[in-house]
């Protein structure tokens, strides 16, 4: 099947980009200056503790982020006519962009001892970690789950009304089955994001009790100069995620019947309406308060001075370049993978389809530090790495964006395939024509979301660029971190605000251009 070829290519590149560097790190142990590692980590009590804590905080965070997200997404789905709906949904893409250190400070602004909702010292512990993770991930989960409601046929809603179903029965028979397709994927993605969270966990967690595997990897690679151990720990993290992924796969049900993309009228009583509005307001406040505090801090800072800095605009250009290119690459790679996965699912080979989705997603948990260093090891004997900074950073960011593409686009693509594949075959619609007439019009919306998400993710990235960047290739995120490291906190907050506004603009533009007029129909 010709779809398998590009998919296989993408998978091969993924394997190369991920496993290659890790293998390279294993062999570094022979170089003088690098410690020989004690690879029997399971005997190490410290590592056991780290492992346990990583899993525990990630699981708890995931639950706390996703369960409310379901309720909020439902609220948005039901209240299609809410004013400012589109704006709010676009706002929900922002937390992903905020660099960790800025997010920490904004959260402290809100919940710290001199904040608007002071928690005092109890902020620094699991509370802080949960707040931060929910801040980052609830809005993302909402955006990823909301389209599922759209997939529910109008007639099902009408029938539910006629049959006299109450809200619980509607949930049980109509909403939950549709949600079951997307939910495991979202759970996994959020889990991965929380597992690999580093600065947030350490700083808001209060101290070494709250250590994740990422810290151990970071320490191994940078301070202990023990690359083999770092690679091993990265493999461990990968293995952990695969286990969780397999669990979520058990949960997943691919839809049994084709769907329609019409926009249903949904029943809701006035009580429901107020509950939904309450949920939306609560979510917006929770997400908005740290963002608002950032805005306030930034507006009080040296705005003019920061804006008139030529380097800012250079950094802005770099940021845009990296973000957009990475998004494009990521979406292309994801598209090929998903097309193949969709055709497998259609042919009934669901397990294999899910495995492909998994392969594309799981790479997220290999820390960019590991990939970056390993890539560097592979490349530097052969090329001048400085010339390759942009391609490497873009490539790694594209890799990191892949799971988001798979989450956004996967369900829609499967459904599109299920619905139209036979038609396309009989009409002889292939390749470009198929894309133009069948796939593009119907997949525009999730595609727009996917590109937008990856673009802003890449624009806000600090991990990868910090590895390879030198001052010539500074991005806005890096600039923020540099300013923070030089006592220039007010400037950093202004730069952070600019980054946020840039991301909001790019996200809105991409969603609008690619996704079409409405954000998610209501």
């Amino acid at each position: 099947m010709s779809r398998a070829v590009p998919a296989a290519l993408v998978l091969a590149i993924l394997a190369l980009l991920v496993l290659g560097p890790m293998l390279a790190l294993f062999h570094l142990g022979d170089i003088p200056g690098y410690a020989a590692s004690d690879l029997r980590f399971w005997e190490n009590a410290y590592l056991r503790r780290v492992l346990f804590f990583s899993l525990w905080q990630a699981s708890l965070s995931t639950l706390l982020a996703v369960v409310p997200a379901i309720l909020v997404a439902r609220a948005f789905a039901m209240q299609g006519q809410l004013p400012l709906r589109n704006l709010l949904l676009r706002l929900f893409a922002l937390p992903l962009v905020v660099p960790a250190v800025v997010a920490v400070m904004s959260i402290v602004s809100v919940y710290g001892s001199s904040g608007w909702l002071p928690l005092g010292r109890s902020l620094y512990g699991i509370n802080g970690i949960l707040i931060a993770h929910v801040f980052f991930n609830l809005p993302l989960a909402v955006r990823l789950l909301l389209p599922q409601w759209q997939a529910i046929p109008q007639h099902h809603w009408q029938l539910s009304e006629q049959l006299g179903m109450n809200a619980w029965q509607r949930w049980r028979f109509i909403e939950w089955p549709m949600l079951r397709e997307a939910l495991p994927g979202v759970l996994l993605l959020v889990f991965m994001l929380c597992l690999t969270s580093f600065a947030v966990v350490l700083t808001l967690g209060g101290g070494p009790r709250s250590t994740t595997l990422e810290v151990a990897i970071y320490q191994s690679l940078r301070f202990d100069f023990d690359p083999a151990r770092a690679a091993l720990l990265a493999l461990l993290q990968l293995g952990l995620c695969m286990l969780v992924a397999l669990l979520t796969l058990k949960m997943q049900r691919l839809p049994e019947v084709e769907i329609t993309l019409s926009t249903p009228a949904r029943p809701s009583t006035s009580l429901h309406k107020w509950v939904d509005i309450g949920l939306i307001v609560a979510a917006t406040l929770f997400v908005g308060m740290p963002l608002l505090s950032m805005l306030i801090d930034a507006l009080g800072g040296p705005v003019v001075r920061v804006i008139s800095d030529a380097n800012l605009w250079r950094a802005l250009a770099s940021t845009l370049l990296i973000g957009l290119t990475a998004a494009l690459l990521s979406v292309c790679a994801g598209w090929w993978l998903l097309r193949y996965s969709a055709s497998l699912a259609y042919a009934g080979r669901r397990a294999r389809a899910r495995l492909i989705d998994l392969a594309g997603s799981i790479v997220y948990v290999v820390p960019p530090l590991v990939i970056g260093t390993g890539m560097f090891v592979l490349l530097s004997p052969r090329v001048d790495v400085f010339d390759w900074v942009y391609p490497i950073v873009i490539a790694i960011n594209a890799l990191m964006g892949l799971p988001f593409v798979i989450r956004c686009l996967g369900p829609a693509m499967r459904q599109n395939h299920a619905r139209y594949h036979r038609l396309c075959l009989t009409l002889g619609l292939t390749g470009w024509n198929r894309f133009r007439f069948v796939e593009w019009p119907l997949l525009r919306r999730p595609l727009g979301l996917a590109i937008g998400l990856v673009a802003v993710l890449a624009m806000g990235d600090l991990g990868v660029i910090a590895l390879f960047g030198s001052t010539q290739t500074s991005t806005l995120a890096l600039m923020i971190y540099q300013q923070l490291g030089a006592y220039l906190v007010p400037q950093a907050t202004v730069t952070a605000l600019l980054l946020l506004l840039l991301c909001l603009g790019v996200f809105a533009l991409l969603e609008r251009l690619i996704g079409g007029k409405t954000v998610v129909a209501g």
Partner: protein, 236 residues
Amino acid sequence: MLRVEALEFAYTDAAEQRMCFDLTVSAGEVLSLIGPSGSGKSTLLNLIAGFLPASRGRILLDQHPIQDLAVAQRPVSIVFQQHNLFPHLDLYTNVALGVNPSLRLLPAQVEAVREALARLGLTELQRRKPGELSGGQRQRVALARALVRRRKILLLDEAFAALGPAMRSELIELVKVLVREQDMAALLVSHQPNDALIASARTAFICAGRVAALAPTAQLLHQQEPPELREYLGSQ
């Protein structure tokens, strides 16, 4: 008997865009509705079912007005062209939902469900899921559910449009029998004037949001007036 009196629906505020329907359907009768796309056939069904709010007019069942009742209270069952069934539930459960959405059925109700399934020849398939069935079988299940609800009004919104002619006529015949047995007033919307011939003694021609013509089927299908009807029939 179902009577629709000056039932108005405005989908914009402009006076020209208002739909207004008047018709009567006797108990035990299947009235066919034909007409060009966008003429308002489905809108009329939606109004009767309560999915759309009427701005004016009345819907009467046996002299009782029902236009102010909530959807669940109206004595209506509807069968759509597709998406009638919940894909993850088996046939038995799909039909049982028609009795009580909590799925807590009294023994008598359980029996009724079994009977309905048997009546439509679905007993052997009752544990299967809709995905495993053909289109025709799925519509039978939808009919079984309508049957078990024992409502006085049956609406069929292009319910058989996706089926082949043989299956279609078979199911239409079945509908006629069921409607007579249960004394229901039924409205059948179809794109095929042929279906009207099989299904109904009388047929209504809906055009531009109004009942433009109402006559015995054979007569209507050869009418020259109004000109829209002639045009519509000519294009079929």
